[in-house]
Amino acid sequence: MQRFSGFQLVAKALKSNREWRSQWRDAAPKAEYDAVIIGGGGHGLAAAYYLAKEHGITNVAVLEKGWIGGGNTGRNTTIIRSNYLFEESAALYDHAVKLWEGLSQDLNYNVMYSARGVLMLAHNIHDVQVFKRHVHANRLAGVDNEWLSAQECQEFCPPLNIDASTMRYPVLGGALQRRGGTARHDAVAWGYARAASDRGVDIIQNCEVTAIERDASGAVTGVQTSRGPIRTRKIGVSAAGNSSVVMSMAGVRMPLESYPLQALVSEPIKPIFPCVVMSNTIHAYISQSDKGELVIGAGTDAYTSYTQRGGLHIANHTLDAICELFPQFRRMRMLRNWGGIVDVTPDRSPIIAKTPVKGLYVNCGWGTGGFKATPGAGNLLAHTIARDEPHPINAPFTIERFRDGVLIDEAAAAAVAH
């Protein structure tokens, strides 16, 4: 791997930047691997990277049906935070935030992690009480979160309208997580792909898994793909919206439903928006990319679907809220909107776990909030695959929690109606 550095940048620039090599090997599938990851998104690539780095398992393939960074990794709104209510969730997401903080150095790749702060607005007395509860729960769990008055919210985010006389749902205050922020989503996928490839992982694009093979005892023995069969005793499924489809190949029925989740971006403008603002109540969700676009998260559609589209009225609903909170954006033009497919569990918490099938592991159910967890989810999936048992952090996030009634009910944790 060519290491990136200031010296390299200057040296290559003097030769017209013609000497940069491909960042990862575009591998062809081998006949057999020690472990196969299905899904070449951020989560799957991270899992492969940590398998190689922390567990010494380097004979690994990541199978991606499309191309690296072409799925939900490239379709999300790049928000990072860990201010979840329950201890299990706070520990899970904070594990990821801690990895985010050192990720650029670890990967030798600038993932542009920016701890610019995530501000969640309260609009009624119920919001105020719930968010204060969140703040206290987070501080007890060692996660930073603080309460701001409406005036303090505006000082933190100057474009915010707090004039109650002009608003149907005035801002009464907000909960701020300063370590929250954003990262560059494509860079996360590319950085993990490059670092994993450097450690021996084969990243195989345009390779769709069509079947999961099992022996007489039920244990996995390999996969069939559009590029031929591959033998392996360990499979990690990290297929986001398609998790149900992949898991059904192994005969496992999942507590998942897949919904379109939309997002949109405006035309690029000069830096105006210094943080991330979310509102659960009126459903706004906005930040500004380093390129200058306002990045806006809309809701999920009401019905299950795999279309990667969704209805325009869903996006419009979010814009109504944005225009009330930030009246100066009313004349902004929206350049693009799109949908990604998210797999939602009944308690809106993810599953990172062993499955009833020996050798089959799953990382799914991230719903509307998978991006923030990318390093942590990959790290914990790798641990679960390598040791054949969960790490204490992901031990509560089993499939069996629905049977056993040990739910981790974070349905109110996102600013997305779902």
Binding site: N242, S244, V245, R253, M254, P255, L256, E257, S258, A302, Y303, T304, S305, Y306, T307, R309, G311, L312, H313, D343, P346, F402, R403
Partner: protein
């Protein structure tokens, strides 16, 4: 935005409807005799197919009734809508092209309790 054929009212905008999950998920007749795994299946496990999906809708801003539909989750096209109590239409293969049923006044106002719900 979807155009949905309510079997009672005819074609209406998606905004008039509320999605109500997978159809034909049957609650056990004798719940006390059902084991934990079956309860888990009933409560939480869904088929979530990439393809034809039988699902419930409710025409909340119209007749307010529940009805069932078969929709292709690959392109959101509705293949059929039918009344509660009617069997799921067989739409596999070429028959996928079948359109929403013709509108008629037959059985208008009846609420069948027969068969799967």
């Amino acid at each position: 935005m979807l155009l949905i054929h309510c079997p009672y009212c005819g074609p209406r905008s998606e905004l008039e409807f509320r999605y109500a999950g997978e159809a034909h998920v049957v609650r056990a007749e004798t719940p006390s005799e059902v084991g934990t795994d079956d309860w888990t299946d009933f409560l939480y496990h869904r088929s979530n197919p990439r393809g034809l999906h039988a699902e419930r809708w409710r025409h909340i801003h119209g007749c307010a009734r529940f009805f069932n539909a078969v929709r292709d989750t690959r392109d959101d096209s509705f293949k059929a809508t039918y009344k509660v109590g009617e069997a799921r239409p067989q739409l596999e293969g070429a028959a996928v092209e079948a359109q929403a049923p013709a509108l008629s006044g037959d059985n208008l106002g009846t609420w069948s309790t027969e068969g799967e719900r």
